[in-house]
Subunit: 412 residues, 2 copies
């Protein structure tokens, strides 16, 4: 079942190496992944995926978080088809842009206005630019190890990036109030913004929910220093709370960056903000050829409305809990010690005593080989289309993967 | 026929002002435009557009250049529908990504590889990053007044941007070999790249084709100084020559940034480059949630194949010439002195003795009022769907607009 010589995937990889630098790039490069991961995918439906060699998977990556209701979702597809039949790139936005901005303002407590773009990185970069425009200050604080996009000011890869691109970016430790206070003090009266993710989701380490006192301190320090609090909800947004991921903590940002799940896989990003930042937001010059296209906005309206008005998020959470309980029971039974961290619906599974992540990589390889698509060191995702039978199907196979992992441990 | 109180457009604008900063933003804000321009559009088909109040237009902006074959194009729509039925955001790219990269490499003489993204700004920013990674140098030269996107390093609006964001960006005058030489000399051994548009398309002034000796000098100076020549073909790409817009001049860039017309309105951008830059390209970390989605890539394959294998571009050019000749004859007949600059299929029409552009603004207003959608100070676009009867329909109305302009001139 591994990706074999003679497979379509191998043939495509060979062709790709001829015409794409490194054969693939960015987060979708399977180069660093265990050997059974396919590089090229053919098709998806609900929570299921098929690769180019026809292998079927229950999917726990869900388009890296872009799919929240499930693939081939009837209502979203109908909205898209209807809009496409009128055209997409017109010479101005459609009425749907106003409808969507109003929906966000109605749904998200802190949001008094919205702007739209295409990439999560567009939204985080616009947020930082708005904060600098509003405050006339330069410094931006972010957590060590946090991912806020792939523009020069924030990309985790330093190649081609200049020190000047991040001259006024400083760091603090997530969930560490003292380090945050020190960073704020260091920035002094030049602090434009604190940008923070609602959950610590660094790759290759246990995910951490924000401690409520940390989140409150972020808010209080931003307010006290006249800086803008930017919540980077690109990854968690519309997965944990439809009003924003820190809404359950009662902590409201000044600006939020959204993307990924916002339109159930259609390309869209958004910035929402408070009234007092509207003037700064309208002062920056930012735009894109496809930013005003109505199709993705129509998809977003359907997606957000369903997430708000149905039990889609609660159902997703139940499926994630079912999987979590099953994995915990299986690991115990096989004598393996695992840690499931992060929100239930955006978990990461790591193994104790696995500093180099070789054990989890081996387990993930056994999973994907059997048709369970999950990630060994990036958080997973669920959709509302996952059903108990999908979880049961996946758990049958993760059980075998744990058995294989236990056998390998015993042999070593 | 103007946008009136009580119109749907006015009602939408009022709602938009409540939920979108400034009521709209970016290049699609109609705030600076003459009064008859609608802000919100409803529908498009071929070369025709309808606004939210049902007014019909022959379109000479074509989604600001994103539409090259025409809206509701049967073959492109079929490719899109077919791919959408398999899903869009899968956990990896589809085979179509390799097909598209191969098509670009086969079609574009300088291209040995391709990378894909969503915005033209993504493509220009990636190009600059690759150039810096490849050379280990910092300085980038661009023409005064040129538009290369809306990221902090290049946005024409300074609000929220720091001097550091553009610390190593220096300027030269387009089509001015001496100024280019001086800028290269000034950059010395820190010159990473020269980024240049194939045509000088600054807003509010006559467009200028690149003088062949200027284009050759750009190439020679880049080569001699070990810098990377980046052609920003985002706007002209797939409109002037399917192999790249400086191909007719025999000048081949090291990197080209593409977007807009590449997928006939579906959101896609690309960077193509030469072999010796592949390693640098694979060293940078750049990615986006929607960059690997196959639907826009399927649209691009159909679009580029048709542009390459049919007379679509030649037909478009003929339609543009027909319009240009008609406009010239009409202006003469009405005693008005106009200048039609730029490539025929990407023209700009300005009036002599109109320093503040009030005459062209008034004329454009009369045109759009009558159903001819064009732009008073940004270059226009055509599509392969424009037919002689569309041009004739438009010319009937531009003639009336010229008459109104001449009458206003006579009265003043």
């Amino acid at each position: 079942m591994t990706v074999q010589a003679g497979s379509t995937d191998q043939a495509l990889r060979a062709r790709a190496r001829g015409v794409i630098p490194g054969g693939m790039y960015g987060h979708m490069s399977m180069e660093p992944m265990p050997p059974s991961y396919p590089q090229f995918m053919a098709r998806g439906e609900g929570p299921r995926l098929w690769d180019v060699d026809g292998r079927e998977y229950v999917d726990f990556m869900c388009g890296w978080g872009t799919i929240v209701l499930g693939r081939q979702h009837q209502a979203v597809d109908a909205a898209v088809a209807s809009q496409l039949s009128n055209g997409d790139c017109l010479n101005g936005p459609g009425a749907v842009m106003v409808d969507l901005a109003e929906l966000l303002v109605d749904t998200i407590p802190h949001a008094d206005w919205s702007m739209f773009a295409k990439n999560g990185t567009d939204a985080t970069t616009m947020s930082v630019t708005i904060a600098r425009a509003a405050t006339g200050r330069r410094r931006v604080l972010m957590a060590n190890g946090a991912y806020h996009g792939a523009a020069p000011w924030c990309t985790p890869g330093p190649s081609g990036v200049l020190p000047e691109d991040r001259a006024f970016i400083a760091k603090f430790e997530y969930n560490d109030v003292d380090s945050l206070r020190a960073a704020v003090a260091e920035a002094g009266d030049d602090l434009a913004a604190i940008i923070v993710s609602p959950v610590r989701q660094d790759n290759r380490r246990d995910q951490e929910l924000a401690q409520p006192e940390f989140a409150r301190e972020v808010r209080d320090l931003a307010t006290a220093s006249g800086a803008v609090l930017i919540l980077d909800d690109v990854r968690c947004g519309f997965r944990l709370d439809v009003g924003g991921s820190w809404e359950p903590l009662g902590v409201r940002p000044d600006l939020t960056a959204w993307s990924k799940a916002i339109a159930n896989g259609h390309p869209l990003a958004a910035v929402t903000g408070i009234d007092s930042l509207a003037e700064a937001a309208s002062s920056i010059y930012t735009t894109g050829s496809f930013w005003f296209a109505p199709t993705a906005m129509a998809a977003a309206i359907t997606t957000i409305t369903l997430l708000r008005d149905t039990d889609a998020m609660a159902h997703t959470h139940r499926m994630a809990e079912l999987m979590r309980e099953g994995l915990a029971e299986q690991a115990r039974r096989h004598g393996l010690s695992i840690r499931q961290s992060g929100p239930a619906a955006m978990p990461l599974v790591l193994f104790d005593g696995d500093a180099d992540l070789s054990v989890v990589a081996g387990w993930a390889d056994e999973c994907v080989k059997r048709g369970v698509y999950l990630h060994p060191w990036h958080n997973w995702f669920y959709t509302a289309s996952h059903q108990p039978e999908d979880i049961a199907w996946a758990l049958e196979r993760t059980d075998e993967a744990f058995a294989a992992t236990a056998a390998r441990q015993a042999a070593s």
